[in-house]
């Protein structure tokens, strides 16, 4: 070990030795590499499995979008569109929905993998493509929820750290009680409460709509951006409230468990100032697991937005999903689900792969 360490410091120029030193260098990390490969393999399998699961699920749904759409059309505008069933059949032929499920599955995989997330046309928004529909609205979802999540994380981590650090002070229990209450409140209830109070009773904040209907989207115009932000205040802050609370509590318990560690006693024994102990020993060690939780939370975003987007009339993924569901537009549903699956799993993968690099403790576990 010792010799090995020396060789780490000053590698020899002699090629033969250099190779050996190189081997020596790599040798301790082979377990890490193996771990990475294995984890990545599992990731691929999971993605594939989940996507397949979703595919089978959607395509075994009883409702068939075209007969729904056209029987609806026939009833809605009388005497204009006729021959609904035939038309529906024609469309199904056109889109290969009459093929056996396995063939459809093959095509589906090919389109998604080779043609870059091409999920065919959206049925209710025909002829628009699913990809277009989703990617046009994705930015809103990301903009709102990721921002909210990050803010919540930042605030939560800070508060949590402080609450944990002053765990013996009386007043923290109040803060904790509040946080707990917030954390357990279903987010949609907070949302509705905010709309009722701030939007409806006091009429301080705009509720829903990404910006004033009169405005034309123009991201160079400061007024427009201000308006968008102004409209974002209520949704974002209500999400921050909820998520911030849970992040706070998470960070606090992390801090407390860290504060019980031997190395904290040792740090105190070394006569370090509380500031340094807090910064370098307590916070630092509690932060990394907290990063993990952020990664996981971010992954869950898309699943979490359904109700909120519906309540705050945000033109995001959730809205599309709900409408698509109502008319069985399973291409779109599939797209959204696919997106969320990949996001969740990828973030999980990133966390699993990079945390060891950030947190030596975990690296030790893997070796």
């Amino acid at each position: 070990m010792e010799r090995n360490l020396k060789s780490l410091d000053k590698p020899d120029r002699n090629p033969a030795q250099f190779r050996s030193t190189l081997r020596n260098k790599l040798q301790p990390y082979t377990p890490v590499i193996m771990y990475i490969l294995r984890r990545f393999g599992i990731y691929l399998i999971t993605v594939w499995g989940a996507v397949t699961l979703a595919f089978i699920f959607f395509h075994s749904m009883p409702g068939d979008p075209f007969s729904i759409i056209f029987s609806a059309l026939e009833r809605e505008n009388i005497g204009r569109v006729t021959g609904g069933p035939e038309v529906a059949a024609a469309y199904k032929r056109m889109l290969g929905l009459d093929q056996p499920l396995f063939i459809q599955y093959i095509f589906f995989l090919r389109n998604v993998l080779i043609r870059g997330f091409d999920l065919g046309p959206s049925f209710i928004n025909f002829p628009q493509g699913t990809r277009e529909v989703i990617f046009r609205q994705l930015p809103w979802t990301i903009g709102y929820f990721t921002t909210a999540m990050l803010i919540a994380w930042g605030i939560g981590t800070l508060f949590g750290a402080l609450l944990g650090w002053m765990r013996r002070k009386g007043f923290t229990s109040v803060a904790i009680a509040i946080a707990t209450l917030l954390q357990i409140t279903p987010v949609y209830i907070i949302a509705i409460a905010a709309i009722i109070l701030l939007g409806y009773q006091l009429q301080w904040l705009p509720t829903g709509q990404p910006y004033d209907p009169g405005l034309m989207p123009n991201w160079r115009d400061w007024n427009f951006i201000k308006n968008v932000l102004w409209h974002a205040v209520m949704p974002v802050s209500s999400m921050v409230l909820i998520w911030g609370a849970s992040f706070t509590l998470g960070m606090r318990s992390l801090m407390i468990s860290v504060l019980g560690e031997d190395y904290l006693t040792y740090a105190n024994a070394k006569g370090l100032s509380p500031a340094i102990v807090l910064r370098d020993y307590a916070f630092r060690n509690a932060l990394l697991p907290q990063v993990t939780s952020l990664g996981i939370a971010l992954g869950g975003t898309i699943n979490g937005v359904l109700i909120l987007e519906a309540i705050f009339v945000i033109p995001g993924i959730g809205g599309i999903f709900i409408r698509a569901m109502a008319l069985h537009d399973f291409n779109v549903m599939q797209g959204v689900v696919l997106l969320s699956i990949v996001t969740v799993l990828t973030l999980g993968l990133i966390v699993d792969l990079f945390l060891p690099f950030l947190d030596p403790r975990i690296r030790r576990l893997n070796d």
Binding site: I184, P186, A193, S253
Partner: protein, 281 residues
């Protein structure tokens, strides 16, 4: 020594259960000779009055009564779903944790898959094709597709349990697998199972409510969620029927609060055992 949080939590739950069970028996006495839950029994969307403290709903039923029934229905959905998901979750999680090795890997992958698919709304959609569609089927469906989380926590617990020395001891005394499972592991697992059950129950209640709120999975007798949803989507506030929106919401929060109190209380009681569970959540 009695635990404050635990007591409060249990009291809240008890209160709720009593309302859910006894309520429907009492309410008829306040409406002699009429059925307050009958569609069109009274004018629709009436303002609160001594007779109808929360007014009437869009189908002309007394709001108080349908909220009380709503508690019952929501609880049934929650409990049925809770049992369902706990059953599946615990079994799979247990297998994954106990058998370990490749089985574990495969099951874990499967669990992750189910966890990432936002399957609940789709399910409610599908449910509309079920000919006999009632709260029990609803609960069961919710359960069938919300077991993954339970499975994950259970697995973690089993993993930590089977490393305990007494289990090794049992192995060394070469007890049979079943003996080990039933005498050593399951007793240790019980607290988590109970908590998962409670958690899953409340989780399902809230999930149902949330979806009802945005009008997915309509077509049930009025659960708390659909009462809330109809109030919100029917402009209850402008009409002055605040209660029909706020009270169901309050009840839902209360349920969740109670559960968390119990959870925390138990943690304080058997600290080391449950802390890990708490961190899992």
């Amino acid at each position: 020594m009695i635990n404050f949080k635990l007591t409060i939590g249990i009291l809240l739950i008890a209160l709720l259960l009593v309302t859910a069970i006894v309520g429907p028996l009492i309410t008829p006495h306040f409406f002699p000779g009429e059925d307050p839950t009958e569609v069109g029994a009274y004018p629709t969307l009436d303002l609160p009055s001594p007779k109808h403290p929360l007014g009437t709903d869009i189908l002309g039923r007394d709001a108080v009564v349908i909220i009380i029934n709503g508690i019952r229905l929501s609880l049934i959905i929650g409990v049925v779903g809770g049992f369902m998901s706990t059953l599946i979750g615990v079994i799979l999680g247990f297998i994954a944790g106990y058998v370990g090795k490749r089985t574990d890997t495969i099951l874990r992958i499967f669990i992750d898959m189910v966890l990432v698919i936002p399957i609940l709304p789709l399910l409610l959609l599908l449910s509309l094709y079920i000919p006999k569609w009632n709260i029990f089927t609803m609960g069961i469906l919710l359960g069938i597709f919300s077991w993954a989380f339970v499975a994950r926590t259970t697995r973690a617990q089993v993993l930590s349990l089977r490393e305990r020395s007494y289990v090794d001891l049992a192995r060394l005394n070469n007890e049979g697998t079943l003996e080990i499972i039933f005498e050593e592991l399951l007793p240790g697992l019980l607290p988590y199972v109970i908590l998962s059950l409670a958690g899953a129950t409340v989780g399902n209640m809230l999930a149902e409510a949330g979806l009802q709120l945005i009008g997915i999975g309509a077509g049930l007798p009025p659960t708390l969620g659909s009462i809330m949803g109809r109030a919100y989507n029917g402009g209850a506030l402008s009409l002055g029927l605040y209660g029909q929106l706020l009270i169901p919401a309050g009840i839902l929060i209360m349920v969740f609060l109670a559960l968390n109190l119990i959870n925390m209380g138990l943690e304080e009681r058997f600290n080391p055992r449950l802390r890990q569970y708490a961190e899992e959540r």
